[in-house]
């Protein structure tokens, strides 16, 4: 997966992407005509105030929600052309996820949580790989601990290990530091960018933290569901803004 040849087309692209939902009797458009393309290896920050549609956009980009109009191209594949299972398969092959609420399985140990995507896709040396990634995020001594026994920051590290262990080509992160205090959040952010850089992964990051956004190579700003700005960062490497 990781070593598949680079294609000329962008890894991720949105074409006139929009989402309309029904609230009671009214049609409410929560996302209007999003349009961008992101080359492989780049990172995109989606920023905006609460309720501006960031998570909605992320869900559409990752194919876990369906647009009302427009389309998403993931690795040259139109998501609109795929059914739910097809999108799931594509996600399994290409994507890793990090969530604000961690989304670890509460009954599983750290190791088992990282093993989930690996075993789901039948990766050969799953345990070795999972252990390696947990060591990578500094939890080598906590393999057998369940989320209950881990702090928020530690839980998010497990989530990072899970996201990267599958050798994804793109990682979707929805406010990965949103549930953490500033210091811990900063650590997690550092770790994420470090892993991302090392693996050469494409990153789509939802945040309302401007500092974090500044560390991505691209910024897409939403306001009331409208894409009001899309620009490359002035300091693409983003070291401390």
């Amino acid at each position: 997966m990781l070593n598949s040849p680079q294609t000329a087309s962008p890894l991720l692209a949105a074409r006139q992407l929009g989402k309309t939902v029904k609230t009671g009797t009214e049609q409410l458009t929560i996302l209007h005509d999003i349009e961008f393309s992101l080359p492989a290896g780049e990172s995109l920050a989606i920023i905006g105030t609460s309720g501006s549609g960031k998570s909605t956009l992320l869900a559409l980009l990752a194919g876990i929600d369906q647009p009302s109009h427009g389309d998403v191209q993931l690795d040259g594949q139109s998501l609109a052309a795929l059914d739910e299972d097809g999108r799931a398969r594509l996600r399994g092959q290409l994507a890793g996820f990090v969530f604000q609420s961690f989304q670890l399985l509460p009954d599983f140990t750290a190791l088992e949580n990282v093993l989930v995507p690996l075993e789901l896709h039948g990766v050969a040396d799953a345990t070795a790989r999972a252990t390696h990634w947990l060591e990578r995020v500094g939890l080598g001594a906590r393999l057998d601990h369940t989320p209950r026994q881990l702090s928020g920051g530690e839980q998010q590290r497990v989530a990072l290990a899970r996201a990267f262990a599958g050798a994804p080509r793109i990682v979707f992160a929805d406010e990965p530091t949103g549930s953490l205090d500033t210091a811990t959040g900063a650590h997690i952010a550092d770790l994420m960018f470090e892993l991302n850089a090392a693996a050469g992964t494409t990153l789509v990051l939802v945040t309302h933290d401007p500092k974090l956004a500044a560390r991505c190579s691209w910024q897409l700003q939403l306001q009331g569901g409208h894409q009001i700005a899309l620009h490359p960062n002035t300091a693409p490497d983003g070291w401390p803004a």
């Binding site: 299972d85 989304q103 989930v116």
Partner: protein, 816 residues
């Protein structure tokens, strides 16, 4: 993927909802396995024994030598065949002679059961030998090797008879038995035209073979010939057995259905707990099919585990029961129960699968439809049509009920009782809770708020608790009231002997004989043989009746009696008993139904060559379990008193008064005494086993009921913990929390208990009255007891779980 599935299974095994699912399924399988095994074993044991009473699996009985054409043919080599001829005759030893009941048997006799003699268990004597009754041996001081003359043939006494398998059915009076080999029969010169011989062709073998043989000759039977098998010859045993089996099946199923309620609740919790996992897995690329496989695999593993554990538990339970009854089983002179087959267990496992599919299937299917978007939008979950779920559960319940009892009426009645319990407890309990909220007790209001806030959940809890308690109460009632009622129908001093063929002028002598022994004199009833000739002017044509039973009833000669008073074990259900001087018939209601006889119909019987015609003026219900002599048809005194009759009586004779029988035999050789003690013992045995088995099932029901409580608690555990965190954060102490919950649970339990008590009393009454036809009263004290029991049980079971919640710190609670 397989490793992931195993991982999920392992983790789920540690989760309380999954364990509750497992426990509930184990209970269901165990209860149904135990009941099924027991019923099957007892049934086969009894059938086997009933066959012993016939010394065969089936017999062709004839008053003339059996035509060779009836012998099993070429294609039926698997069948065992024996023949007997029984008749009264004089036997001699030296100068002495006396009447004996001779049985000439072919060498393979008996085919079923045991012929026990002083030599041990044997078959018919060899040619030239005889087995003799102990009474002859004692009377004439005979021992093995002595000579005995039967007719004109001299035989050697080979053994003394201890027990003969088919003595009960063959009841050739109390004349002492002499068994000889059939090959010696011609040489005795005793068989000639006009001699009263009872010929039997005995057949035994595989069930299907025997059935084929019977089918083959059934249509060819001539006058004086009839087929008999063990079941047909013992309707009392068969009826008791069927009732006991049905009752047990129902009780076992009740445990399973209670477990089903627990499964329904635990499955909801299981499903809720897995929304996030499923959403995550789907986000991480699992297809819906993979999710289905994962869940299906887990459920199959669940059923497999439950099947193994439950099967083992059920088997152990019934084995323990059989063991605890062994003394009783063996002391009745019978062999041990036959070993069980795996069928009841397999059935129970299949039922459990059906139960799980019916109660949890749709929820689990919906689970696989969890949208992956839930990882971002927590509130999303698949549409769960709970209405459809309940409907399916109800359907599965009815199907299970019907499978268990194979009786639509009983299944509907029980299912209706359950549905009623569900509705009534939901609504009734809810009303009670509302009433309590109106009371000026701040503590109660605060305690009941969680219930009031979530009416749906509260109703499920109330319903579950009520059903659990109703089940328990129903069993308590049934165990006491229903069984008491049932037992009462077979009193301890039920007659164990019949005496027939008593001449009217012997009644006084016989009464004196009883008095002299210190026994109370029995009641004598006249008995008249009559052939049914016409029904409403139409000649009776047995072939015209659609079912076998009716045909058989119509073609046989009736034993009629007369009298104008209704007997104590009869109940008038239509018409009235005859007035003095009136002419009329009274007919047993079951017979009337089978033969389509209605009140007012005219029946003609041929009695001793003359026709007696009269209308039917009464229909009676007869308690056959009383074991007293009863008649399908009786006539009024005015009509039949002058007809030639012999007398019949039934009486209870304790073992120590048995010598009386010998006196009767000696002084009145024409009187035939039948010992039905063995038959009675069989019925009693069924009752005993049923009572014991019910206790075992009660244990399973209790367990299932408690599982329901635990599952109901598990279902709202997370809401409760959030609420607890909030209350603690607002300054409530652990003690306060605990008191609040205690109040909530006890009020909930009390409300359910009250409802359950009322429902159980009603259902028990209805079941007894309509399904089992037993007089069971409405139990008035029960609701009070269940109110208390409900409160106690609810608090008791909930405490271990709630203690844990109350002890956790507010912070911890918020984090989880």
């Amino acid at each position: 993927m397989r490793r992931l599935a195993l991982r999920f299974l392992r983790r789920d095994l540690a989760a309380s909802d999954f364990r509750l699912l497992l426990i509930a399924l184990v209970i269901a399988v165990a209860a149904m396995t135990a009941v099924g095994l027991l019923a099957d074993r007892v049934k086969r044991g009894l059938t086997g024994q009933a066959n012993w009473l016939l010394a065969a699996d089936a017999a062709l009985i004839s008053d003339h030598p059996i035509p060779r054409a009836y012998l099993p043919g070429n294609g039926q080599a698997g069948l065992l065949v024996a023949e007997t001829a029984t008749f009264p005759s004089m036997v001699r030893s030296g100068e002495q002679m006396r009447l004996a009941a001779i049985k000439a048997a072919s060498s393979d006799y008996p085919l079923r059961g045991k012929l026990e003699t002083s030599l041990g268990v044997v078959h018919a004597p060899q040619a030239g030998q005889a087995y003799i009754d102990r009474r002859i041996a004692e009377q004439w001081q005979l021992k093995a090797g002595d000579a005995l003359k039967v007719g004109s043939k001299t035989l050697t006494v080979a053994a003394i008879i201890v027990r003969e398998p088919d003595a009960v059915i063959d009841f050739s009076s109390l004349q002492p038995r002499v068994i000889i080999n059939a090959v010696d029969l011609p040489a005795t010169g005793l068989i000639g035209p006009g001699s009263r011989v009872n010929y039997r062709l005995l057949v035994a073998g595989a069930e299907a073979d025997v059935a084929r043989w019977k089918d083959g000759i059934h249509s060819r039977l001539q006058r004086g010939e009839r087929l008999e098998d063990a079941q047909e010859s013992r309707p009392e045993v068969k009826k008791s057995l069927a009732k006991a089996e049905q009752f047990l099946q129902l009780a076992g199923l009740l445990a399973a259905l209670l477990a089903g309620v627990a499964i329904l609740l635990a499955a909801r919790r299981f499903v809720q707990r897995h929304y996030d996992s499923v959403a995550l897995l789907r986000t991480l690329g699992a297809s819906r099919r993979q999710m289905q496989q994962l869940l299906l695999g887990e459920l199959l593993a669940l059923v497999l585990l439950a099947s193994i554990a439950g099967g083992l538990l059920g088997w152990l339970g019934q084995e323990a029961l059989a063991y605890s009854l062994r003394y009783w089983l063996e002391s009745s002179g019978n062999e041990r129960l036959p070993a069980g087959t795996p069928w009841p267990w397999l059935w129970a496992s299949a039922y459990a699968l059906l139960l799980l599919a019916g109660t949890a299937g749709p929820q689990l299917l919906a689970l696989t439809r969890t949208p992956p978007l839930r990882v971002l939008r927590r509130e999303l979950q698949p549409g769960l049509r709970l209405g459809a779920q309940w409907l399916l559960a109800a359907g599965a319940t009815l199907l299970l009920l019907w499978l268990a009892v194979r009786d639509v009426k009983l299944a509907l009645l029980t299912g209706g009782g359950l549905l009623l319990a569900m509705l009534a407890s939901g609504a009734g309990g809810w009303l009670l809770i509302h009433l309590l909220l109106k009371l000026p007790f701040a503590h109660w209001r605060l305690a009941l708020r969680p219930l009031a806030r979530q009416p749906g959940l509260a109703m499920v809890q109330l319903g579950a608790l009520t059903i659990g308690l109703t089940g328990l109460c129903l069993l308590t009632i049934t165990r006491n009231d229903l069984l008491d009622g049932w037992q009462a129908r077979v009193p301890a001093n039920a007659p164990n002997h019949f005496a027939i063929n008593i001449q009217p002028d012997q009644v006084a002598t016989l009464t004196q004989l009883f008095r002299a022994q210190g026994a109370s004199a029995p009641v004598f009833q006249p008995m008249i043989r009559g052939r049914w000739m016409a029904h409403n002017g139409q000649p009776v044509n047995p072939a015209a009746y659609p079912d076998d039973r009716a045909q058989r009833l119509a073609e046989r000669e009736f034993n009629l009696s007369w009298g104008d008073a209704l007997r104590a074990d009869n109940r008038l259900i239509a018409g009235r008993m005859p007035a003095a001087g009136e002419r009329g018939w009274t007919v047993e209601a079951g017979l009337a139904k089978t033969l389509n006889i209605r009140l007012g119909d005219t029946l003609v019987f041929d009695i001793a060559g003359s026709s007696v015609s009269a209308p039917v003026i009464a229909l009676r219900e007869v308690n056959w379990d009383s074991f007293r002599a009863n008649f399908f048809v009786t006539g009024s005194q005015a009509m039949l008193a002058d007809q030639p009759a012999s007398m019949i009586t039934s009486f209870y004779l304790p073992a120590e008064q048995r010598p009386l029988l010998r006196e009767i035999a000696n002084s009145m050789p024409n009187v035939t005494v039948l010992d039905v003690g063995q038959l009675l013992a069989e019925v009693r045995r069924i009752l005993l086993i049923a009572t014991q088995a019910l206790q075992l099932v009660l244990g399973f029901c209790l367990a299932a009921g408690l599982t329901v409580l635990a599952a109901a608690l598990e279902l709202n555990a997370s809401e409760r913990s959030r609420e607890a965190a909030l209350l603690r954060a607002l300054g409530a102490t652990q003690g306060r929390l605990r008191r609040l919950w205690l109040t909530e649970q006890s009020l909930l339990g009390a409300a359910s208990g009250l409802t359950a008590g009322l429902l159980a009393s009603g259902t028990g009454w209805a079941l007894g009255r309509y399904a089992l036809e037993l007089p069971v009263g409405f139990n008035l004290w029960l609701p009070g007891v269940t109110l208390l029991a409900g409160a106690l049980l609810a608090t008791g079971v909930s405490q271990w779980r709630l203690q844990r919640l109350a002890r956790s710190s507010p912070g911890e609670l918020l984090r989880n």
